[in-house]
Amino acid sequence: MTLLPLIFDGVLGFTLLWLAWQLLGSPDLFRAIVLFIAFGLLMALIWVRLDAPDVALAEAAIGAGLTGALLLAALARLGPPSETASLDNQGDRASVAEGGGLPFRRWLVALHLVLACGLGYAVMSLPSAAPGLSDAVANSLALSGVSNPVTAVLLNFRAYDTLLEMGVLLLALLAVWSLGSTPDAPPDDQPVGGVLALLARLLTPLLLLVAGYLLWVGGRAPGGAFQAGSVLGAAGVLLVLAGWRLGRRFAQLPLRIMLVAGLVLFMAVGLFVMLVGGDFLTYPHASAGGLILLIEAAATLSIGMILAALFLGIRPDSRADQ
């Protein structure tokens, strides 16, 4: 039975490459995005094959799901596909002409082949035993406050990375809101279907439950703030699609407080343990588990809200005027 996994992996890997080839080359952008979502789902399968269930969850929810939704919404806002497609094709020809045409592309292909071969050679020449940090993580895991090693790395050993990464997420939202006066989407001519509203009503409580579960279980099993947050974000996207908007009263300061809560609490905990007498983000071993859960809970809320807000694309309070 050793042949079966081999075939499975082979099919998985080659399909992934084929999908990438197709999605980057297909003239129809809608098709390209749908293929990209399929690409993300296959990636999630590969993460499972590579014993990375945490990554698989994040990939399925964020990489395939939310990114796909974001891109599809963007495509809809770009306007009728025929127009963009023709512009795309024009541009294609123009750029070939500008870049010196076929010889230029041949050079480029050759260059990329050389690059790929070089990288492949580099990978093959790595020593066969990985000098990774798995032992170091395993040795300190008991002190980290959680038993899921990935959560331990994300929220304890390399918590500073995660803190800055929450900053990246918040920054993206700030950027989107600052630039947000997009040419308005073609007015929603279709009244939002009853089916979608029903789906949202049914699924939202379930998604909230799943998010809570992922958050809770993240300390000892695959899951955690990012996975839970992205599930929460998916619920938000669903609500946005079903036509639901934040009430005007909440769209101001209360919303902004929820958006920054994760980062603020993270920084506050880091500073607090510093005042108690360690370095920044050095949790006392006894209370590490509780502190991590606290940070993760706030982070889940903020990540979910930010992802949904990124999908919405404009300041919620600017919409209330219309």
Binding site: G118, L119, Y121, A122, V123, S125, L126, P127, A130, P131, G132, L133, A136, V137, S140, N156, F157, R158, A159, Y160, D161, L164, E165, G167, V168, L170, L171, A172, L174, A175, W177, S178, L179, L253, R256, I257, V260, L263, V264, M267, G270, L271, M274, G278, D279, F280, L281, T282, Y283
Partner: protein
């Protein structure tokens, strides 16, 4: 007193204060200006505290989370990173004051949190001793910078911002691929541990090659500079200033750090190549600057040229060369920020920045023209200015390492930049055929720019202190270097 200074974790403050300020500006946008100025001041004080700590106690390693490398993330401050932090603070405070006058209310609301995010990202980058952490700070920096460019009105800034975003993402991904390969060949992402464990093998060379290309793309070294002039020229003036002064220097800082710490020693060819590209950038950038008709485009091309100087240190590879390049970085950051601010004043005053129509601006904006001229002195490298000291050091390094031809390049670059600076100043004295309507320029915008230009000159008069500071913790190694 001194107990208090040593008991505060200044490294953490330096990173967290701007981030906290960004969040506060986001929460209470109406108070943005006040919050931002308070944060700018607080950050500067923290940098001062950190400087004191480093000067008294030497280079500092700080373990975030208490784990220490390789498991945790370390922060490391020595003279090199401290110098970068100080430049950032000096330029940062000036830009904050300037921006207060520059932006009207609606755009100020967007500017302050983004700018503070960018400042926090810069400080985090200069402190980090961990290459994966550096990747995150690079992304934070890139996204903030791109958004700031896009704050300007019109189609041109948006297209430039989009191109800039793609370039910066590409650069980050190349860097990350290198990080992945280095991690898998050494089992750590900490720079000090990498320095111990790495030996010259094909994987290491390929990984470092990827990282160098990614960083060069972000630093806009010729011929990868194609995105820079438009992005820097079409951004709002304070943003142009901080992009040219600080953002491109951040990726250069990483490059120089990696080069000094983890590159295998026998990299003569690569060093010569980088020097060659630097020389090409120097000539090409200055020649292009001469051809420009718009002031901001001209200054942006001059940034391409000046970045070339920084790379002349790689083939020289001795301590004097490195200090020269860093002194060039320091004085260029300050002088170029002043110059972009002056251009912003001129743009505000006459509503245009066409060089031929400057229209006797010297009589009407004397402070701004003085600023431009003083900054120009440093950029040309005339004494007494920071630029002069830097070029002198580079020249000395070229002669010491018996590679006099780099000295020729240095002198040639200075001459070329003199030509365009005199051209601009000349137009400032001549009346223009077409009269333009004029608007008042706030005093804070004129004085903050002038203060920076004076600092650039002062760098030439008082060079011993920054030069001594650079050597704390011996970032360039001991003795002559390889």
């Amino acid at each position: 007193m001194s107990v208090l200074i040593f008991s505060i974790h200044w490294q953490v403050m330096v990173v967290l204060l701007p981030l906290a300020g960004a969040i506060a500006c986001f929460l209470w946008p109406r108070r943005g200006v006040m919050l931002a100025l308070v944060c700018a001041l607080g950050t500067t004080l923290s940098v001062a505290g950190l400087s004191w700590l480093v000067v008294v106690e030497g280079a500092q390693r700080y373990t975030v989370g208490g784990w220490g490398a390789p498991l945790g993330i370390d922060l490391y401050v020595d003279g090199l990173s401290l110098l970068m932090l100080i430049v950032t603070s000096v330029v940062g405070v000036a830009i904050s004051v300037y921006a207060n006058g520059y932006f009207e209310r609606s755009r100020a609301r967007a500017f302050w949190p983004l700018w503070l995010f960018l400042w926090g990202a810069l400080n985090a980058l200069f402190l980090s001793a961990d290459i994966f952490n550096l990747y995150i700070t690079l992304e934070l920096l890139g996204l903030a910078a791109v958004t700031l460019v896009a704050l300007a009105k019109g189609a041109q800034p948006l297209s430039s911002a989009m191109r800039y975003l793609l370039v910066t993402l590409l650069g980050s991904l190349l860097f990350l691929l290198g990080v992945a390969l280095l991690y898998h060949s050494s089992g750590s992402v900490d720079i000090a541990i990498l320095a111990e464990r790495l030996s010259a093998s094909p994987v290491v060379w390929i990984a470092l090659g990827l990282m160098v290309v990614g960083l060069l793309l972000k630093t806009a070294l010729f011929p990868l500079h194609f995105w820079l002039p438009q992005a820097h020229a079409s951004a709002p003036a304070p943003v142009s200033a901080l992009l040219s002064a600080l953002v491109v220097k951040a990726s250069f800082y990483i490059l120089i750090r990696l080069w000094l710490e983890i590159f295998p020693p026998n990299n003569f060819v690569l060093g010569q190549l980088l020097g060659l590209l630097g020389a090409a950038a120097l000539l090409w950038g200055n020649l292009q600057a001469l051809r420009q008709t718009r002031l901001k485009m001209l200054i942006a091309y001059s940034t391409v040229a000046q970045l070339g100087y920084l790379f002349l240190a790689f083939p020289l590879a001795n301590i004097i060369g490195w200090t020269g390049a860093l002194y060039m970085l320091l004085s260029h950051a300050i002088a170029k920020a002043a110059m972009f601010m002056a251009a912003g004043n001129i743009l505000r005053f006459g509503g245009h920045d066409s060089i031929a129509d400057l229209d006797r601006i010297v009589q009407r904006l004397p402070l701004t023209v003085t600023t431009f001229a003083l900054a120009g002195v440093s950029i040309m490298g005339l004494p007494p200015s920071g630029g002069f000291v830097a070029k002198w050091l580079l020249l000395e390094a070229a002669i010491r390492s018996a590679q006099w031809w780099w000295g020729v390049v240095l002198v040639l670059g200075g001459l070329l930049s003199a030509v365009w600076i005199f051209k601009v100043v000349g137009y400032a004295f001549t009346p223009s055929p077409v009269p333009h309507e004029v608007r008042a320029v706030p005093a804070s915008m004129e004085w903050s720019a002038l203060a920076l230009a004076l600092t650039a000159i002062a760098l030439g008069l008082f060079s011993s202190w920054p030069l001594a500071l650079m050597m704390v913790g011996l970032p360039f190694g001991e003795g002559g270097g390889s």
